[in-house]
Amino acid sequence: MTPDGPPVPLSEHELAAALEREGYFADEGLCTAVHLALRLSRPLLLEGEPGVGKTEVAAVLSRVTGLDLIRLQCFEGLDSGQALYEWDYPKQLLQVRVAESRGQDVGELYREEFLLRRPLLRAVQDERGVVLLIDEIDRADSEFEAFLLEFLGDFQITIPELGTIRARTPPIVVLTSNRTRELHDALKRRCLYHWIAFPEAGRERAILRAAVPGLEERAAEGLVRSVQRVRGLPLLKRPGIAETVEWARGALALTDGGSPWPTALRRALGLLIKDEEDTRLVLTHAPELFDNA
């Protein structure tokens, strides 16, 4: 593989600034990870708890680089016909019929015009290169990972009837996983790996500032402190960044309606915690969680 991969040769600082302009506040580890993925032309495997912004990385990268985003959402039962390519059988049969009625030779039935392009093949064939997001790979069955290996290793797809199709411009590939199951070593070996942790307080405040205009600095500080404490509880689902933002928006809307800030925070709790048992647990700890928030 040649190291001339990156379509947009950004330095790491430029990359961080560009991400921030698009409203994505990445820490040093994530910046380095994205930068290396671009420079080495390697797929980037992102793991982390739900709601830390794994999927968003691909969307932001597509805006930063100006390349199209192709998304493959994984699910149980996903197969190669839905992810790579499939032959368009009805079209082939029609072709046979047409040739028959005109008395012509049918010709080759397995050629490109009868190919249905699924996300991975589209990513390989795009001349400009694309950002390909393979989302929640842990939801697909573990057998499905085998279909990805050739693509992730060499950015190529082999179709038995046609031969090997290799990407002219290597796509930028981002895989995400919630780590609900363990991925095969063979897949992990082909990717750069980064674990996105929950953001530390300073970065979460920056995200809030950008996402919720009109939120006072002191209020944001208290709110972030509360969220970080809530994450320390043994919850079934710990709140992610999206939940923090929603909570801040909700509470802000309630204060506009006349509620004082701490009350507004408690009333909007349903936006932060989305599970009955978790809510009960948070409420039993409410005084220590929400004091001076």
């Binding site: 040093e28 580890g29 380095t32 197969d79 082939q92 049969l93 046979v96 070996r189 509880l233 647990l281």
Partner: protein, 391 residues
């Protein structure tokens, strides 16, 4: 690598070797990635180098503590031996095969054949005795129930079918040849359901003494019902694969064969070590991947329960569903409040009570509901212990 970099390069190679030594697997292409990055843009300081190395080399967040330790040794303390990590070195621990040189797991001291005893274990063989007539109807019912409750997944290989979702154009085309190229009938392909594997792990330690024979009989009915896709292991102080021994059609003969193989029956408990041993073997890991995993154990771990919880967490990630059947959970007053059970309850998909064959039958019949429910919801059936007081 040329001239002035030579010294640094030597250091780097030694670092990579140390990582291997600490059990952090790094494939050669990943090492090449790191060297390419460093060669094309030398890192200005250890922090940047850390991120370069971590992102290119690390494959699993579970390996991070081991990775950090090695990195600190080689790049943050000038290559000297670091201060040994504190006793309660918390955070997520390295994978079992990477447990590091500082504390080899007890099982590493065992010879590979697993026949000789460790310091922990007592050498115990045990005859399990005949099943008796009263058990036969329940065992027959179990054998009849298992096939209906085991999960399936769509096969990757399509087969001819009347109601498939895809045209079998090759087949249709071949048939058309017989009629001068006229398509008389279309053929279809479908993805038939392929059964998932079933992995049963039976605790044979002393605390389950009364229940062990029935738990093994329960495993026997599963193995009889689905012989090709069921695997059975026992664990006490060590791990034993008993699938072959248990395969005899007659339960009593099968149990006799098992008692010849299991040498740690009625001894101590080292669930964490036994499970870690299981997970360190890639061939065993493949058996758990995507399988329905059933652990029959009371979860009473002696000493530190952290290795057991870690092993359970990995088992939960590997499996399709992880079900824990405990004889203790049969009693109505049972609460999963021992440290180990409380810590791993959020990882389980179901915690049920099984102490003999009838309770086993009840739980087997409950499996379909477990298989359709969302994952990691065992905690919902059991009252949450107060997090501030975990005992």
């Amino acid at each position: 690598m040329p001239g002035p970099v030579g010294l640094a390069a030597g250091h780097l190679w030694a670092f990579l070797a140390a990582l291997r030594g600490a059990g952090v697997a790094t494939a050669p292409p990943k090492q090449a990635d790191l060297l390419r990055v460093i060669a094309s843009s030398p890192p200005p300081g250890p922090t940047k180098l850390y991120w370069y190395a971590r992102i290119t080399l690390l494959q699993d967040i579970g390996d991070l503590p081991a990775f950090d330790r090695v990195f600190d040794t080689w790049f943050r303390y000038g290559g000297q031996e670091p201060v040994p990590p504190a006793a309660g070195d918390d955070g997520e621990a390295p994978s079992p095969n990477g447990a590091g040189q500082d504390d080899p797991p007890a099982l590493d001291a065992l010879p590979g054949d697993g026949v000789e005893a460790s310091a922990l274990s007592t050498y115990g063989r045990r005859e399990f005795g005949p099943a008796g007539d009263e058990r036969r109807p329940v065992m027959a019912a179990l054998r009849a129930t298992w096939p209906a409750v085991l999960p399936a997944t769509p096969s990757r290989r399509r087969r001819p079918s009347r109601s498939g979702d895809r045209l079998d154009i090759r087949h249709a085309w071949r048939r058309a040849h017989r009629h001068d190229g006229e398509f008389i009938e279309l053929r279809r392909l479908a993805r038939p359901a392929r059964p998932r594997r079933l992995l049963i792990m039976v605790d044979v330690s002393g605390s389950l003494r009364l229940h062990t024979p029935d738990l093994l009989r329960l495993a026997h009915t599963a193995l009889r019902a689905a012989p090709a896709r069921t695997e059975v292991f026992t664990f006490g102080t060590r791990l034993t694969r008993i699938t072959a021994a248990l395969a005899h059609p007659h339960a009593d003969r099968a149990l006799r064969a098992v008692s010849g193989q299991v040498t740690d029956a009625d001894g101590g408990t080292a669930i964490g070590t036994a499970l870690a041993h299981f997970l360190a073997n890639p061939r065993f890991v493949a058996l758990a991947r995507g399988a329905l995993v059933i652990v029959l154990s009371d979860g009473l771990e002696r000493g530190d329960c952290a290795p057991m919880v870690r092993a359970t967490a990995r088992l939960a990630r590997l499996s399709h569903r992880l079900v824990w059947w405990s004889p203790l959970a049969c009693s109505p007053g049972y609460r999963p409040v021992t440290r180990a059970m409380a810590a791993q309850l959020p990882l389980l998909d179901h915690l049920g009570g099984v102490r003999d064959l009838p309770t086993g039958l009840t739980e087997v019949r409950r499996l379909p509901a477990v298989l359709t429910a969302p994952r990691h919801t065992a905690a919902r059936r059991w009252p949450t212990p107060d997090p501030r007081d975990p005992q």
